[in-house]
Symmetry: C2
Subunit: 104 residues, 2 copies
């Protein structure tokens, strides 16, 4: 989203500073992401004894990355469960077709 290429420029405010971000999707998407980062920084600032904005930003990035990887792990677990269920269903279907085939 912050790279080169086509996209509308969107002005956002994060932790009291204005930034210009490139919206490759809907500008409201970028705004909600900026609001999420801003909120995280304020939460961290309120719970961490530091006045260093860089540290607050890095801890926010770490926090968001933690959420990202947790979601990824959960998604992979769901995918595994779906694959398992699909296999069980396929076995059940084959069995049912065999059973029907065996009937007069």
């Amino acid at each position: 989203m912050t790279g080169r290429g086509k996209g509308q420029l969107v002005q956002v405010e994060i932790y009291g500073q204005r930034y210009t971000l490139k919206a490759t999707k809907d500008p409201s998407w970028v705004e909600s992401i900026a609001a999420h980062v801003d909120r995280k920084m304020r939460e961290i600032s309120a719970s961490t004894p530091t006045v260093d904005s860089l540290k607050v930003a890095i801890l926010a990035a770490v926090n968001i990355a933690d959420e990202f990887f947790q979601l990824k792990v959960e998604g992979e677990a769901i995918e595994d469960r779906i694959a398992e269920k699909a296999e069980q269903l396929s076995d059940l279907l084959e069995e049912s077709l065999r059973e029907r085939g065996g009937r007069p």
Copy 2:
């Protein structure tokens, strides 16, 4: 992960600075998250004409939040598809049971 409470302290290096983070999970989880943030900051630094570490950290946080929300939207779409398939399957099962019940 950066809040108060139980957890092992882990030293990590992000963008040339050492930080002490609290690992509520495996310390290697924290290390891989820190490595992800470090990698993002270096990617942004290489593609953005800025020497401001705060800006780099905030753009990294924005970038990671973008990935997080994309994954969330994809996950929700998958959940919707699963719910739809489960309903179709349920209808199919009921129909099949009715059909069997109707046979001699």
